[in-house]
Assembly symmetry: C2
Homo-oligomer: 580 residues x 2
């Protein structure tokens, strides 16, 4: 490798070298403003999502420092804001719950190990260019699991609003556990929780129009709206401290170690690894899908490009960074990335500046939130995730396609009933199965010539010209193992009832692959038709398919010809019909 190629490879794996050398004062200003806004938004979110993951609050802060710096170095998106997100936090809680640990130290170690394994999985996927795997999560499955996990997450936080202890990793267990604790409701907690939730909903829906109506500049209105959770945190913390509500049973965040993230190492215990690796793979893929969808949406707005395989490396580096600095699995979040983008972030440096902001918070602010009620954090989570719940996908998919609808429905139901891992896996498998099932029973049309053109169409849908001696079949699917026998049966049945036939043409305009199983079926069809005195022809065979057929003996054995176009076939085989 010469020096230039080395340099290109460096730039590919280290995008910072590309944007870094063009960095200037304008970009710095934009990035700093964006960083301040995102920092304000991220502090309560980080604490809240750590709580959702069942981890100490400071782990949320730690996961919002070094991972952001790692992404700034390795990531390609200019606006993606990395850190703890709701779905991944929920999945982390479920994954660690499966291990049955009880000591907080072991739980924290498992979260760090999970981040490490996710990082390794993401890095490996990036280096082996496996980013395409994410395409197998179809839109219906993604929409379904986001809605279902929004419901799951909101429900999981109800116990903090009610001030009771409840448990469960699926909707039924959670509701059942909540119902059995209804008599233990802590009224001061409920008051804080309901007030904070109502306030945050109002901030989200009603505050911005009101501010705009008061003549406040849109940009400032926006920042004030985003600062809603910080206000809720400040006010409820103050009230809880002032009224001494902790003595009345209001659960508070309490003592958070003050300082920069500690240096940590993942566990290298194979038992822990084997218990977490399946979850790590799913967390990686789902985190990647969430992250890359946001990144691509934002990049498209500015005509920039995302390299999905390099995104895997960026996210992998972020998770490794989380693992060595006391964090837990992270990915690019939807809401905060949009905020970052809207606030004007120009380069990944905005992420690094946000990291500095959070680090300062970890150094200075933690004593101030000693009296922060857990109910307030639960309220911020509930308000954030309920905005993701959207059942309209059920209606849209129902009217468009039953297959897509069933993928959505199964994903939602199984996610609610058994958690994200099972819900998403079942949705993906069902989507693939339904796709294969449909392609195993392909649409096959008998076609004829549209008068006045050289174009052939289904005889049942269009007025077309045909010839009684010539049967033209258009197979609307790739020919491969799953439908090879279906075509054999179809032709056998169709030809058996038709005595006058001399020629059958398979129009291959929709056949993009012919695999070895289908080739053997074509050979069988050719022989069977031959024994009935009927010739078999092909038409409109595509280049790549033809290249392959030429490597087999099929074309030597074929009783008929291969025509460039179906019109050429009809001209040669049924000149009267074609001339009509």
């Amino acid at each position: 490798m010469d020096i230039k190629a080395q340099a290109r490879a460096m730039v590919r794996y280290l995008p910072i070298l590309d944007w870094g050398k063009r960095y200037n004062k304008d970009a710095l200003t934009s990035d700093l403003v964006a960083a301040i806004i995102v920092t304000i938004m991220l502090i309560p979110q980080s604490l809240a999502y750590a709580l959702l993951a069942g981890l100490p609050a400071q782990m949320g802060l730690y996961a919002s420092i070094l991972p952001l710096v790692a992404y700034a170095v390795f990531g390609t998106s200019r606006a993606l804001a990395v850190g703890p997100v709701a779905v991944v936090s929920l999945m982390t809680a479920a994954a660690i719950g499966n291990l049955g640990l009880t000591s907080p130290a072991e739980i924290a170690a498992a979260a760090i190990t999970l981040a490490f394994l996710s990082g390794v999985v993401l890095l490996a996927m990036g280096l082996f260019r496996l980013g395409f795997l994410a395409n197998f999560l179809s839109h219906p499955v993604i929409a379904g699991f986001i809605t279902a996990s929004g419901i799951l997450i909101a429900t999981s936080q109800l116990k903090h609003i009610l001030g009771v202890s409840a448990s469960g990793h699926n909707l039924v267990d959670m509701l059942h556990s909540l119902a059995s604790h209804l008599l233990d409701i802590n009224l001061p907690t409920l008051a804080i929780g309901v007030a904070a939730t109502a306030f945050l909903f109002w901030v989200r829906k009603g505050l911005k129009p009101r501010l705009l109506a008061l003549g406040i500049a849109p940009r400032l209105s926006d920042i004030l709206t985003k600062a809603g959770p910080v206000a809720a945190v400040a006010v409820t913390t103050f009230i809880t401290w002032g009224l001494g509500l902790a003595d009345w049973g209001v659960k508070i965040v309490g003592d958070i170690p003050r300082g920069l993230p500690p240096l940590t190492l993942p566990s290298f215990d194979l038992g822990v690894w084997s218990g977490l690796i399946g979850s790590a793979v799913l967390i990686s893929i789902i985190g990647f899908v969430e992250s890359v969808s946001v990144a691509q949406t934002l990049a498209a707005k500015k005509r920039q490009r995302i390299d999905p395989d390099q995104e895997l490396i960026g996210l992998g580096a972020s998770n490794i960074a989380a693992a060595i600095s006391g964090g837990y699995p992270v990915t690019g979040g939807f809401a905060r990335s949009v905020v970052n983008f809207d606030a004007g972030a120009e380069t990944p440096a905005a992420g690094a500046f946000t990291a500095i902001g959070i680090a300062l918070a970890a150094l200075a602010l933690t004593p101030l939130i000693y009296f922060l009620p857990v109910a307030t954090l639960a309220a911020t989570i509930i308000v954030a995730v309920l905005s993701l719940v959207d059942f309209s996908i059920l209606k849209r998919s129902w009217s468009y396609s039953r297959a897509d609808f069933s993928a959505v429905a199964v994903t939602i139901l199984l996610t609610l009933g058994f958690g994200v891992e099972i819900g998403v896996s079942a949705g993906v498998l069902l989507s693939i199965f339904l796709y294969l099932y449909r392609s195993s029973r392909p649409h096959i049309a008998e076609v004829g010539l549209v008068p006045g053109t050289e174009h052939f169409r289904n005889i049942n849908r269009h007025k077309v010209l045909t010839d009684p001696k010539l049967l033209t079949i258009r197979i609307d699917e790739n020919l491969y193992f799953a439908n090879a026998r279906y075509l054999e049966d179809y032709l056998q049945n169709r030809v058996a009832v038709d005595c006058g036939l001399t020629d059958v043409v398979l129009m291959c305009s929709a056949v993009n692959q012919i695999d070895l199983s289908a080739l053997e079926s074509l050979e069988a069809i050719n022989h069977r038709l031959q024994s009935m005195g009927i010739r078999l022809h092909l038409s409109e065979v595509k280049g790549p398919v033809m290249d392959r057929l030429q490597r087999s003996h099929f074309l030597d054995e074929l009783t008929g010809q291969v025509f460039l176009s179906q019109y050429a076939a009809m001209k040669a085989l049924a000149p009267v019909g074609a001339a009509a």
Copy 2:
């Protein structure tokens, strides 16, 4: 349901009502002759395959009585001969081996339960019309696993030829175990085994031409050739008895209970069921595929038809019959069905007559084979299965398609290394994965008009007319979740470098499905092109795809039109180019 509909349903599920009423003396004679030949062939085979399955010899006989009667009632093939077969016997041995049982009674009970579960699985698949599932076993996977299991089975019998005790369910274990016992070889056993194997190979390859050369009628030569294994059994049994070789360490079949099959019941222990159900599903599918391929090949020769879903019911009934009469899993065998067909079997009654023949053998012959050396049975298995070993599929698939080749290679290697279940499962999953992978990165061609025609072809392969303002893209794949984003990226990159474009046409002749994910991608493409001042059109959209698009809002938002043919699109959008 009126009486006629009831009668039709009866005939569908009881094909015997159809052929039974047309049964006559000619058919009876043909069936009887075929039954005698198949009985002669089946007696040593049944004993040998029971041995291969690790079961007492009489279970092979029992599996060749009642199951044949059940198939005669419920099956649709005129020539299929049901009973114990090599691959299913091998899989039975592996499935029972997994349970770790030691007492012979428990092992026999497990085999009966396995037959019962296979029967239930087959019946359920038949009633729910799931016969199409067998299509997912591609030809390469079938060819690979048949070759590999032939090698496995032959290797598993070597210990009986050598007269040593060895174990193992995969090739490496077997060879290792054999090697460690090489010093224990029993020479009289080896002599019998090698002689029987050589004799049977000679019968298979050299006897028939010799008989024909001697002027013996072809039909009789054929019967004499098929009786080879019976001759080997008779001669080696006589020698072993005469020379008292059992005292010299030659393992003999020994005492076989004399009489008709006992009435048995499967175990209803849920633990046993959960240990066997996975194997039962695989045995069912593989047995069904083997059986239905033979049945279809033979039916095609006489222009008869097989109903795959009714075949499932026939095989299901056979396995239930095996379970209640002391047998083990059965299916339609290749070799014996061909013999049955060649011997002139006209109806499934031939199977019932074969059952009577085997029942007579179970009643009368078992004392005669007390001294039958196990090595002789091993020799019949080795000679039978080695004829299935055929590595030519490796060469054929290599030259045709690397994807098919890797499916063959993986199936062979994993079957040899880990047994049929893992080998076949891995082969099927790999085939599906490679198919999906290919369709996730579809071939996309830029096309132009072939001069003098209305036909459009790839600009890189053909001399075609194009227009600089018009880009026509032919997508050679269904548009679905796995490749929706790929198309978005392709178009984004292609359009970005081309400034003069005003119109883009997606030619959909090869698009047979557009799912909801792809619809959303098309909407995104439409919006993005719109923002660049480019209109998006579709052409040659098929009927079923158009039906679906009309149920969405896409066509309302589309900036361009939907053209019946690509030629119509070119005439409308680039009249100069189309006229040239």
